[in-house]
Symmetry: C2
C-alpha cells in the first residue's frame, strides 16, 4: 500500500464563467468542488490505476467535512486528524473567453503542536502496512519548518522508501532531515531552492544533502532523473494540450508505484512522463486520460545524459 | 416578533487582498465568513437593535451547516428547512489597493416542490407569534416564480403586515399575489421592473397592482415613501463613506420595526434613512455603527413632496 500525506489539504472549488469582469458582481452557475491538495491528487491517480493507497492528512470545520465526504464518495481510503481550525479552500475562477484562470488559495488553518503530533502518530501507524510513503505539498501555517523532514524520518527509520514533493526551505529541510529515497522538485522549484536550473547540478546538490535520487519535472520538456552516478531524461513524444494542474502529482504517483514494485529508474521515468502527459489531457487535477497514458507509454523514449 | 424569510441564504466569504492580480495564483491570509442573504442581514440588524426576530430559510450541505453554526454563534433565533442540495456561497474579493471589490455569487441549490412546501409550512407556524413578516432577496433556482407572493399571502390571510424586498418579475408577482403592506425596491430595481425611475410614478404603479405602500431607496440620495395619497422623502444629512452592501437591508429592518410598533410613515422613513447610513459606516453587511445611527436620527429631516 502506498501511503500519501497531505499536510495542507484543500477543498478545490472551480467556478467556470463565460467571462470574468473585474470589480463587478457575477452570478456563477457552473460550480464544481473536490477534495484537493497534492497528496490527495496522488492517491486519486493511484486509485484510478488500481493501486492500493491510503490518504493521510488533517481536516477541520465544515470545509473538512466536505473533504471527508468527497473522499468517501470517491472510494479513496483515508485517515484524517481532526483540527480545531477550518480546512482551507482553493477557488479557481476559469474565464472561458480568455482561456485563462485566476486562483485564490486560502493559507490554511493554524495547526497546534498537539495536532501535528497526532499527524505523526497517524502516519507511524499507517507505515506498518506501507510499501512507499509520499509526502506532498506545502505545510500549513504554524506547522514546524522541519515538518516534512519529521514525516520522512518516520519512514526512513523503518526502511520504507519516501518520495517528497515540496518546495522552498521545506524541500531543503526535508532532504537534510529525512533522507528521502526520491524528491521531485519542478525546474522552477529547483532554481528557487538551490539557485541552479541545471537538473543534473541541482540534483547532485540535493543528493549530497541527503536525497537518494532526484526527479526534476520540466513541463512540456518532460522529466530528468538523477542518481549519484547516472542521469536519464524523457520527453513526451507529442505535445498534449489541456490542464497542467495535477500533472506533477500524476508523475509522483508513477514514481511511487515504480518504487513500490522495485522497477528500475528508466522504467519509472517512462511511466512518470506518460502518466503526467495523460493527466494534462484530462480536465481535472487528480485524473488522467487512460487512452493517452497507454498510447504514450509505448512510444516514450528514455535517454541517458 | 419580526419574522424574516430568506429564500436563498448564502455563506458570505470575504477575501481581503493587498492587490488582485487577474489570471495569477494568489495566497489569501485574510478570510472572513458569515451567514448572509438579505433576510439574514435584516434579522442581524434587528437583533443588534434589541428587537425580537426569527430568521427563517432553507439550508443544505456542509455550507448550510456553516450557516447554522454562525447563526447559533450570533445568537440569532432561526428555523431552517433542510435541503438535499447545498447552500450557495458568495465570494467577495476586496482589492485594497484599488479600493474596489469583485463578487462571485453561486446561483444556489435546486429546490424541490416538497422543500418549498416545507418552507411555506414553517413560515405559517412562525406567523402565530409574528408582528411583521419580512421577505427578502432572490428565489433559489427551481423555486416557483410566484414564491414570494405565496409567502406574502400567508401573512396577509392573518392580517400580519408584510414587507417585501425583492426585484424583477418576482417583485411584480409578489405585489399582485401577496398584497404586501410595503415593498422596498431600490431606484434601479424600480426602473428594471416598471420602466420608470420616478419614485412617485413607480410607487403609485405598484400600489395600483396591490402594494399598501412603497419605499424606494436611492443610495446617497436617501429614500422616498409613497402611499396612495401622500409621498415623503428624506436624505442623510451628511455623506457617509464606507460599505454600502447591506444598507438596504438595514433600512428594511427600520421599516419593519416601525410597522411592528405602529409608527407613522414619516417616523419610519427617518429611522430607515439614519439606520441605512449607519450601516454604510460599518464595514460588515448586517451591522451598523450605533453612534452614527443615533447622531443622524436627530438631524435627518423628512419632507413631503
Amino acid at each position: 500500500m502506498i501511503v500519501t500525506v497531505t499536510p495542507n489539504i484543500a477543498l478545490d472549488i472551480t467556478y467556470s464563467l463565460d467571462s470574468f469582469e473585474l470589480y463587478s458582481s457575477m452570478r456563477v452557475y457552473d460550480v464544481a468542488e473536490r477534495a484537493g491538495g497534492k497528496g490527495i491528487n496522488v492517491s486519486r491517480v493511484l486509485h484510478e490505476l488500481g493501486i492500493s493507497t491510503m490518504a493521510v492528512g488533517m481536516v477541520g470545520g465544515v470545509v473538512g467535512a466536505a473533504i471527508t465526504a468527497d473522499l468517501v464518495d470517491s472510494n479513496i481510503d483515508h485517515r484524517l486528524v481532526s483540527l480545531a481550525g477550518q480546512t482551507r479552500r482553493s477557488i479557481g475562477i476559469v474565464d472561458r473567453s480568455a482561456g485563462d484562470a485566476t486562483v485564490l488559495n486560502e493559507a490554511g488553518p493554524q495547526v497546534s503542536a498537539d495536532e501535528w503530533a497526532d499527524l505523526l502518530s497517524l502516519v507511524r501507524e499507517q507505515l506498518v502496512s506501507a510499501s512507499v510513503l509520499v509526502i506532498s505539498g506545502s505545510l500549513p501555517p504554524a506547522a514546524p519548518l522541519e515538518g516534512v523532514g519529521q514525516l520522512a524520518s518516520l519512514a526512513s527509520e523503518t526502511d520504507i522508501p519516501v518520495v517528497v514533493d515540496t518546495s522552498g526551505t521545506a524541500l531543503i529541510a526535508a532532504v537534510e532531515t529525512g533522507k528521502p529515497a526520491l524528491v521531485k522538485p519542478n525546474i522552477h522549484e529547483l532554481a528557487d531552492a538551490l539557485g541552479t536550473s541545471d537538473p543534473v547540478a541541482g540534483g547532485r546538490d540535493l543528493i549530497a544533502r541527503g536525497a537518494g535520487a532526484v526527479a526534476v519535472s520540466m513541463g512540456a520538456d518532460g522529466m530528468a532523473i538523477i542518481t549519484d552516478s547516472q542521469a536519464w531524461r524523457a520527453r513526451p513524444p507529442e505535445f498534449i494540450k489541456g490542464n497542467p494542474t495535477g500533472a506533477g502529482d500524476a508523475s509522483v504517483s508513477a514514481l511511487a508505484a515504480g518504487l513500490a514494485e522495485g522497477k528500475g529508474w528508466e522504467e519509472c521515468l517512462r511511466n512518470a512522463v506518460a502518466l503526467s502527459a495523460a493527466a494534462v489531457a484530462h480536465p481535472q487535477a487528480g485524473s488522467f486520460d487512460s487512452d493517452v497514458y497507454h498510447r504514450l507509454l509505448d512510444i516514450t523514449d528514455v535517454e541517458e545524459f
